[in-house]
């Protein structure tokens, strides 16, 4: 089973929920548990929020693209913006890194913790691509195989 979805929407806070619900609906077609899907939703929410807040710095007229590929192994999610880019990706991924004291700087921490792989590419003035993967875990089948 392979399915692919591509969404493109404006950099509005209202679209953060839209993106995570759409990805969750697609993830529901694979054998993810409900708690897996809840964690995928958090990761998508963080990536899209980063694009809105940091990529476009609150500007509402930038484009954000979310591309999702689903197969029997799991889900791959690419969140892309064409905003200001990240000067130091390593630093941005550190826990607590945030210019805003009201924000916790945990966006990338959540993405890393809730997904099984995270790659970030960025170029100043060109934008940012966040690529995440999560595999389906086959605990039930594995137990039966072991027996």
């Amino acid at each position: 089973m392979v399915n692919r979805v591509q969404m493109r929407f404006l950099s509005l806070a209202d679209n953060v929920g839209l993106a995570r619900v759409a990805v969750a609906a697609l993830a529901g077609q694979a054998r993810f548990t409900l708690s897996d899907i809840e964690e995928i939703k958090v990761a998508v929410s963080e990536a899209v929020s980063n694009a809105v807040i940091h990529g476009y710095q609150g500007r509402p007229d930038g484009w954000i693209q979310v591309e999702v590929t689903l197969d029997d192994a799991g889900i791959e999610i690419l969140v892309e913006d064409w905003g200001v880019g990240i000067a130091d990706i390593q630093k941005a991924r550190e826990p607590g890194h945030s210019a805003d004291p009201e924000r916790m700087g945990l966006g990338f921490v959540f993405m890393e913790s809730f997904m099984h792989g995270l790659e970030v590419e960025s170029a100043l003035g060109e934008g940012t691509r966040v690529h995440m993967r999560r595999f389906v875990t086959w605990s039930g089948e594995l137990s039966r195989d072991v027996q």
Binding site: A13, D14, V16, G17, R20, S35, E38, E39, K41, V42, S45, E46, S49, V52, I53, D100, P101, E102, R103, M104, L106, G107, V109, F110, S113
Partner: protein, 115 residues
């Protein structure tokens, strides 16, 4: 997102309904700050029974209110926390600094000392 508050002898209870994310963070921050400023001698209890989703934007609002209250010697408690929200709170270490009650049994979990 909607919030309904009720004033008790020692605390203000706030029932929040809806997702806590980038879209709702500013409105939630503003509402909670108004309550904190209006009832200056009371603790704050947030009932999250009707909050199905929270990400770091919602978490930031809660932590920011916790800091404000702590500076004034007041407390913030979370009640009715659903499993999906609890995972996020635990990953951020929030459960180590404030009291959190699950939605299932309602029993408070004492803050764990930080190691």
């Amino acid at each position: 997102m909607t919030i309904i508050h009720s004033v008790h002898r020692q605390s203000v209870h706030v029932r929040i309904k809806g997702d806590l994310d980038l879209k709702t963070a500013d409105a939630l921050r503003e509402s909670l700050d108004q309550l904190i400023d209006r009832y200056r001698d009371k603790d704050l209890v947030l009932d999250l029974e009707d909050v199905a989703f929270m990400d770091s934007s919602g978490l930031g609002v809660i932590l920011g209110r916790y800091r404000r209250l702590a500076q004034q010697g007041r407390r913030l408690r979370l009640e009715g926390v659903r499993p999906a929200v609890k995972v996020v709170l635990e990953l951020a270490g929030i459960d180590s600094i404030m009291s959190i009650s699950d939605s299932a049994d309602g029993r408070p979990t004492a803050p764990q000392p930080q190691s």
